[in-house]
């Protein structure tokens, strides 16, 4: 673990009363390694370590006997502060319909998360309509319909030949007629560098004015997270992240990267393939996980 590695570093520095800057730098090299191995972005690691360094050097009482724990404590608290510290609650409409739009790269877990969110809404006394705006992936609408049956939520897929924008727009009307106070819109996976598909997403967003635009991100994503999260956020103004597949053993450093560069909070985490595997995000638990 990181604490063990740092104990090793500090054992070599034993006998000194106070940590020198050089000692801090040696300790920070281990922290740097831990963060990079956890998939935290190269530049985010640099900036993060700078904050830790300032805090560590500014610390007055520094017993080298507990130096390792002190550094880990500082790192953990800085990580937790960075990951948290923002309103991670769902923004509901003060009255009328609340609209959530889910987007992200191919295979990140959007459709499954839509199903999970419908269940989450029911547990919070609301009645969601699921909307199938992925007209490209084979049997995408069927996938959402099966999930809708499992979670007992209605699914709206528009009619044959409609564009995703038309389906989304009609869905709001359908929800109003059928008494659904929450509308959850599933969209096709897409690359942030696919101009036409990003434009489609911007048009869907324009048509339905979502209260939440959730970017769904796979927890095993590496350094690329900063690239696409920034692009999606610039184009659409993302209001929250959903970090999926956290039931795996990926450390999830991408969460720190995307939070740091966009300022957008993680609002939910996916903890499994079943529809009840959706949890609130816990910054302190995520910090421990990233540190390994």
């Amino acid at each position: 673990s990181l604490t063990d590695k740092l104990q090793g570093v500090f054992a070599r520095l034993r006998g000194r009363g106070r940590l020198t800057e050089k000692d801090i730098d040696e300790a920070l090299r281990e922290v740097r390694l831990a963060l990079l191995e956890a998939d935290v972005h190269y530049r985010v690691v640099k900036e993060f370590l700078q904050r830790v360094r300032e805090r560590a050097i500014g610390t007055e009482v520094f017993e080298s006997l507990s130096g390792a724990q002190t550094v880990v404590r500082i790192v953990h608290s800085e990580l937790t502060a960075l990951l948290g510290g923002s309103d991670a609650r769902v923004q509901f409409a003060p009255k009328g319909q609340t609209v959530l739009m889910l987007c992200g790269l191919q295979g990140s877990g959007k459709t499954t998360t839509c199903g999970k969110l419908a269940g989450w809404m029911r547990r919070h006394g609301r009645h969601a309509l699921l909307v199938a705006c992925d007209i490209y992936r084979p049997a995408a609408r069927r996938q959402l319909e099966v999930l809708g049956e499992q979670i007992k939520a209605p699914v709206y897929g528009g009619s044959q030949g409609q564009s995703p924008v038309q389906i989304a727009r009609d869905a709001l009307r359908h929800a109003a007629v059928n008494g659904n106070d929450v509308v959850i819109v599933d969209t096709a996976g897409r690359l942030h560098i696919d101009e036409a598909m990003m434009e489609e997403l911007a048009q869907i967003r324009e048509a339905i004015q979502p209260h939440e635009t959730l970017l769904v991100v796979d927890a095993m994503t590496g350094q690329d997270a900063v690239n696409f999260a920034t692009d999606f956020h610039t184009r659409l103004s993302v209001s929250g992240f959903v970090l999926t597949k956290l039931d795996g053993d990926a450390r999830g450093g991408a969460a720190l990267s995307i939070r740091h560069v966009t300022g957008v909070p993680v609002k939910f985490v996916g903890m499994g393939e079943k529809l009840d595997n959706l949890d609130a995000f816990h910054p302190d638990r995520m910090a421990s996980r990233i540190l390994g």
Partner: protein, 282 residues
């Protein structure tokens, strides 16, 4: 990367480190590669940054030069059918890769049969069925919730009866650290082997190019469970470089056989090590 640079200095090495890490090459491999370059700069008295770049391509190419790793062709077995089993974690592109490989195989005149052995995920059977229709190939499917091993078994029997050359079997995505799911996969491979009279001709581990360091855990644990014979690296049409496969080739010797470069059935290419490393350093 090194254009406009007059000389080799520590800032060049810093920039190289940044590029490689941002391409998801593991820290361990980056450190080893750069240490090798520093040493060669000294012993070979390099002064031109282009020497560094060439040296780096050689060092990284070394990982891919592992003899086991260089055999990029797909194996076939006798008697037919040849069986290709697709495995991997959730959402990486297994089902779509089956469609792509099926198109390639049938384009050269061979006959293929699909096995819808993802009996768990919502809409999985329908998704593969849609591809079977589009590609005009047969498909063996059972009910959702059925035993995946039974689907693969039936597909092999059917392929024999119909004189079909290839069976391509889809499996459900699964997290590699879930013991019961890896055991299910072991059983699929065992049943397939028993029915085939030999191991599956290919067990293709499908991996997403956006995956970071967890890719090593995936390769390791899937290989422990089933005889992985090659990797299909998907979504290289995005901005992710897939650098983690260098460590996988280096540490586990698994060949990267195919690359996914889009969502259409035609978006499948043979793995090109030179092009891959070039893109890594771009």
């Amino acid at each position: 990367l090194v254009t406009g640079r007059g000389r080799i200095d520590e800032s060049l090495f810093d920039d190289l480190e940044e590029s490689l890490i941002k391409a998801d090459v593991s820290v361990r491999l980056v450190t080893t590669a750069l240490d090798t370059l520093r040493e060669r700069t000294r012993t070979e008295r390099w002064s031109d940054p282009d020497d560094i770049l060439r040296g780096l391509r050689q060092t990284l190419g070394q990982a891919l030069r592992n003899p086991a790793v260089r055999e990029v062709g797909l194996a076939t077995g006798a008697p037919s059918p040849s069986l290709y089993l697709f495995v991997g974690v959730n959402g990486v592109g297994k089902t779509t890769s089956i469609a792509k490989l099926t198109r390639r195989l049938t384009a050269s005149g061979a006959k293929a049969l699909l096995a819808a052995a993802d009996t768990f995920r919502a809409g999985a059977i329908e998704q593969l069925d849609t591809w079977a229709d589009r590609l005009d190939v047969g498909i063996i499917k059972h009910r959702p919730g059925a035993d995946p091993s039974a689907v693969v078994f039936d597909a092999i029997q059917a392929a024999r009866a119909r004189h079909i050359d290839y069976v391509l079997a889809d499996t459900a995505g699964r997290i590699q650290t879930k013991a019961h799911l890896m055991e299910e996969l072991r059983k699929v491979a065992r049943v397939a082997e028993r029915s085939l009279g030999r191991r599956p001709d290919e067990v293709l581990l499908v991996m997403d190019a956006t995956t970071g360091q967890n890719g090593i855990s995936q390769a390791r644990l899937f290989t422990e469970a089933v005889p992985v014979s090659g990797i299909i690296l998907t979504k290289l049409d995005g901005t992710a470089r897939g650098g983690i496969v260098l460590s996988i080739a280096d540490e586990l010797g698994i060949p990267i056989k195919l690359v996914g470069s889009g969502e259409r059935a035609e978006d499948l290419e043979d793995f090109d090590p030179e092009a891959f490393i070039k893109a890594l350093l771009a």
